[in-house]
Point group: C2
Chain length 230, copies 2
Amino acid sequence: MERTTVQPTKGADVSGRRQRNARGEGSRLTDDIVQGALALIDRTNGAEAVTLRAVAREVGIAAPSIYAHFADRDAIVLAVTARLFDDLTAAITAAMDAAPDDPVERLVAGCQEYVRYGLANEARYRVLFSGGRSAAAGDYCKPVTIGPHGRPVLEFGAEALAELDHSIEECVRAGLSASTDVLADSTAVWVALHGTVTLRAALRAFPWPEPVEDFVRQLVLRLAKVTRPA
Amino acid sequence: MERTTVQPTKGADVSGRRQRNARGEGSRLTDDIVQGALALIDRTNGAEAVTLRAVAREVGIAAPSIYAHFADRDAIVLAVTARLFDDLTAAITAAMDAAPDDPVERLVAGCQEYVRYGLANEARYRVLFSGGRSAAAGDYCKPVTIGPHGRPVLEFGAEALAELDHSIEECVRAGLSASTDVLADSTAVWVALHGTVTLRAALRAFPWPEPVEDFVRQLVLRLAKVTRPA
DNA sequence: TGTACATCAGTGAACGCGCGTTCACTGATGTAC
DNA sequence: TGTACATCAGTGAACGCGCGTTCACTGATGTAC
């Protein structure tokens, strides 16, 4: 009981110095490091600021303390990546479940949430899909395993695409899509969503069609060959 | 005559030390610095390696020599950006001119070249549209002027979009497109092309539909509402 | 034609900074006897 | 119950590195007289 109600302040105290974990609770710092890295990514709008020392400062510990939890900087970023993939997946699933019980509306809602998440969390989205840029960029080609329970990035991509594929397939089955190559059309939709997020994020000041939800809807309806019953 | 035939080796000599420019020719180093930065971008697959010292090493000069030509690191990257925009524009124009004399084929050829260029020059493309990431990322929001004859990035975006807009408009005029909102549809096409380039580049190992030219064609035909005469 | 001088096109050494990483350590706390 | 000890969860100082930037300088070359 106490354990759940009397939540100790896990973060840094007033002096910026975090209180030491109790014996056996050392692994909590692993989580805090990931959280710190995430905070750093959000605040600086990019993953480049995620240095060992910066993360240590953010969490309120000495830099070498990180080595007990992560092998190096890249390991931290990979752990963050794993968490973000779960975040995005959960957000999309929730949006689809909240949509009206109609295959097209579910598809559109999922796609809209994908774009909404990407634009609301620009830096996080970039960590997910723009690669670690320098070193990690190469790794994204090999199916590298991420995080403790993490899946390979490629596998996530496959999952996301499978989800989309399934969603469009449902539309076809309901006679609402004329797609004859569902996999190709799923890919087209994914690529268009990704482009919407990244290009809008890169050129914020551009006079994009608004609202973005309508733009996404049109994109999806056309690429998934949705045919509303006459 | 001599000037054009007896081209002096402008680069670094055997010792890695570049020969000093003749009097009055000092501005040549400006070009060489941009070239060096570009070489660095291509070789390291990203713009992060473009440091003042690295560029100086690449060109074969002392680091402080750069200050006579560029205010700082960002100025170099902006000059590179300006050159790359011209590169991309020229490539697309050439491809469209080489296409059959048909509005749809011209449109498709331009879009295919856009994607081809992006995938063949991944790092360059990222410099253009993924922002300077850290510091420059903020600048891309304001219309910052780039290079000596450079245009703002936003303006380039507007030009590219205008070109696309014009191209689709031609299709409409020829009765080959059913688009009723050409600007919105141009935006959709651009966004989809951008997504194709960046997502394929980020996840090289993914089983993407091949060949990419056909994929792009389908994307464009659908988003630009092309209606081939029956 | 000769020579002093200004200018141009750079150089070399040095600075302070933040970084990743190493090393020996410290101090609280649970456990065996 | 008391106490020695092992373990856990970290710390602090130091290293070498590459970075941007500054400063005073150098040496070739064109130009004025």
